[in-house]
Symmetry: C2
């Protein structure tokens, strides 16, 4: 694979020729990550035009560039779900309250944050003072509904109708949908009252099959995060305190983002027979005995977009791994003189068309855009920097003559440019994109690995979390054998939580950091979003 | 293009060899269309396993085979929308009441059928008598929300933030989403409280551009219905009485289904400056003058699936045009003897794999499925007949030897079979699919054209609608110059409506069928869903 910085034979580096940037590099995003991470995050989203808040409490508008990222998530996962035998279906948005009442633990888990529909009409009412017409709810429902916070109950009730015999199993269903949880504190993508997600729901004849499904999806999520989003998530199991309400086991992928906080990026639950018993998902086995099915559920949401932003973006804005970038290459015609303008635009379009017939490492045609907007060159450049496009290519009058292109990689400084012949760029574009992809994964892996440390004594543990807000502590890997209550107390004290019992990183025999009891179980503690 | 029934050289017809079917052909769906069309429709849906009702009032569960049809709709339209410059985005599900109050006519149009969210929590309450825990709404909202019945208001409010200068126009946005209208009488797919749809929303600098957009999409819908769904819809404009609330012009595609009723299958609205003024979608033009944008909106929904079912299905169940069929060819191994079973299944899989490398007339790889379920052969056959798969292929022991396959076309009688060499079938599969596609369109066009008649006098007009419920009347093309009120009175009297002012079929000067006034406008009256 060719590296732009190393292949001196092919590529001549011009270095920093941008006058505005030469002396006092000013970042495109203010504040910087190191100054105010939460505010930086908001500004990256704004700068890349990904999403915005709305007048609907806690709900966001996902703008085209942000939605295109979600479309990338959907496209990859949908294909993989189908390859592994799942089918899509669609279930009602509104859940009768009676359904929620069936599985007590589950109901409790969601009751405090449900949007409730109680009326089915509006009536116009004239305000006596202002003379204005106001709409008020009318037509009260005998039985209210909640907007689905998740669909275990309503899909379970369908499963109970669909499953009669062992021949009906496994039932492997996925749904792409919107859900609502009335969150008190919201943050674009990471935590919003309404969000988009997929929720898989499956039913199986045996514990083993259901567990295999739970882990299949858990692995698939890890693969997706690593391969496509370039996020080296840590896969593992949740402790009882952090499990999905009603689940027997919850598997998670945990991402470390640049402020070293953890984000739960996707979960896969083994629900045992809990929901099957509450909703009578039962079947006759080969010997004509009635059994309850073993069910699973699993999901990832638009939260992944927030994770992606926090994982890779820098002080100039969004940084996109090429495999998820809606546009992988943006070609900008530089047209200072009217007489060469048409020729340059033609050259840009021709280059784009040639590139579109090439494929990237995932076998997809390259996604190339020519930006012919009537706009000042600097503004245009920074627009694409802030939008995180992996490769920016400029063609100007001199390049036209020399048949070269000027290439800027988003994973390098924004004023770093390389000149390369058009033919070489065409041949190497897929390699270059893969280099950017790999460099982002390597950087994120380096961040992760240098911020997880082992800790085996309580004093060091407690000291670790006692730092100022600005400098977030890394994660600690500790032997743990505490109870649910002990975990919750310790978590609350330091505003941390056990992110998971990691699949790897198990260090063998140790003594619980809190109780001193012998244990073989190592867990990851972290502060999280 | 080869026709199975004509190419005797290649194909030998075995005719009706199915003993069960030979004497007394029994239909797979009961009742037949001629006996009870509405009930037949429900049974077709059930037989094809497309969808079912749920315990959420008026809401359906869309099952995998039905959802796959919707995925086909999405795939085609999403591609076309993007090719014509539109981008996807996502807006909140919940609309503040204040938004609805801004455009009076629009608000009135949807007020009587809105799901209203008034609370954001549930509280567990113990029932003193039964001892059971009941969930009741809690946490009343100061400002209630409605679940979007359509998104003009909330998207308009975003547009008002996004549009400042003429450079921001046109703004071409589409959203794939669920919406709710609290319908009193529901019918699977055709009219449900919640449905899935796409809604396009665009803003333009001029009337001309907005009108061109409205018609571009109108044409695109017509093309999709004809080319993909094989439904020869009639494109035209709605009269004032039938317009979208708040629109200046509504363009529609109207489908005639087999009971001769009309279904509005997709609409495209020119909203003028009505919404732009109500929501302040304004911009500075090139001369720095403030103008209001001209907006459009347009949508098709899961209603298209209902239209598709009613257009083509027969007394044996669903009939799918190959271009929308989730599986175009199903290969069924016929394995009466254990010793040839593996060889037959291998042959089926090999044939499927070869076919998957072929493309259909739209350039997509053929969608082929091998059905190896452990199930009685007759049941398996009828399962695929009821599911509407265009081509069913069987390979049995004798076919294995002779290297032939037995082919059944869903647009022919279910007991009609043809034998053809495997090589010929591989070569001709795409042609055969196209023949099925064309034959369905031809049949639907024949139905449509033989059931629209011109009518120029009121007596004949009124008599026409006065028929028994069982025999539905066709559509009437009439000169019309009545007022809104006259139209509504006549419509109510005969339970009919003006479906559209058709784009074609305009017959020149005539006299209004009701008032006798001179008019050049011909309209289509029909009974509708």
């Amino acid at each position: 694979m060719m590296n732009l910085q190393l292949s001196e034979g092919l590529i001549r580096k011009r270095g920093n020729q941008n006058i505005n940037m030469a002396k006092a590099p000013k970042n495109a995003i203010s504040p910087m990550r190191s100054e105010d991470f939460p505010e930086w995050y908001q500004q990256v989203i704004k700068g890349a035009d990904l999403a915005e808040t709305s007048e609907t409490r806690g709900c966001m508008v996902i703008k085209p560039w942000g939605y295109a990222l979600w479309e990338g998530v959907k496209e990859y996962l949908d294909k993989r779900f189908k390859e592994t035998g799942h089918e899509n279906a669609y279930f009602p948005l509104l859940i009768p309250l009676a359904y929620l009442e069936k599985e007590a633990e589950h109901a409790e888990g969601f009751a405090t944050e449900c949007a409730v529909v109680t009326h089915h009409r509006l009536e116009a009412q004239k305000d006596e003072e202002t003379g204005k017409t106001k709409m008020i709810p009318s037509g009260e429902l005998a039985e209210p509904y909640v907007i689905r916070p998740t669909s275990e109950t309503i899909i379970g009730s369908a499963f109970s109708r669909w499953v009669e015999s062992y021949r009906d199993l496994p039932l492997l269903i996925n749904q792409w949908a919107n859900v609502m949880r009335w969150e008190m504190r919201t943050r674009l993508f990471l935590r919003t009252a309404e969000f988009l997600w997929q929720e898989g729901h499956t039913a199986h004849a045996t514990h083993e099959e259901a567990m295999a499904e739970t882990k299949l999806i858990h692995d698939l999520y890890e693969e997706f995060a690593r391969e496509v989003l370039a996020i080296p998530v840590i896969p593992g199991e949740k402790t009882e305190a952090e499990r999905f309400p009603g689940a027997e086991n919850t598997y998670t992928i945990e991402a470390m983002v640049q402020d070293k906080k953890a984000i739960q990026a996707g979960t896969s639950h083994y629900l045992g027979q809990n929901f099957a018993k509450a909703q009578d998902i039962s079947f006759l086995d080969k010997d004509n005995n009635k059994s309850y099915a073993h069910t699973t559920s699993w999901g990832v949401s638009t939260r992944l977009i927030g994770t992606l932003i926090m994982a890779h973006s820098d002080d100039d804005g969004l940084v996109l791994p090429p495999r998820i970038a809606p546009k992988q290459i943006v070609i900008v015609p530089v047209t200072p003189k009217e007489e060469t303008k048409d020729a340059i635009i033609d050259a840009c379009n021709a280059l784009a068309e040639t590139l579109r017939h090439k494929t990237d490492y995932s076998g997809q045609p390259l996604r190339v855009h020519v930006d012919t907007r009537d706009m000042q060159g600097g503004a245009k450049k920074w627009d694409w920097v802030k939008k995180g496009v992996p490769l920016r290519v400029e063609i100007g009058p001199r390049d036209l003559e020399s048949r070269k292109v000027c290439v800027c990689r988003r994973d390098q400084a924004p004023n770093e440019k390389s000149f390369v012949s058009r033919e070489d760029f065409i041949n190497d574009a897929a390699d270059l994109l893969q280099e950017v992809q790999a460099s982002l994964l390597a950087k994120a892996t380096e961040l992760r690995d240098s911020n997880i440390s082992e800790c085996t004594d309580l004093a060091t543990f407690e000291q670790h979390w006692d730092v100022s807000e600005e400098s977030q502590p890394g994660w600690l890997l500790c032997p743990w054998a505490g109870t649910l209550e002990e975990e919750e107390t310790l978590a609350k004290k330091h505003r941390i939580s056990i992110r998971c019992i990691p699949q790897e990183m198990q260090k063998g025999a140790g003594k619980c950091i809190l109780t001193g009891a012998d244990t073989e179980q190592w867990v990851l503690w972290a502060r999280s979003y």
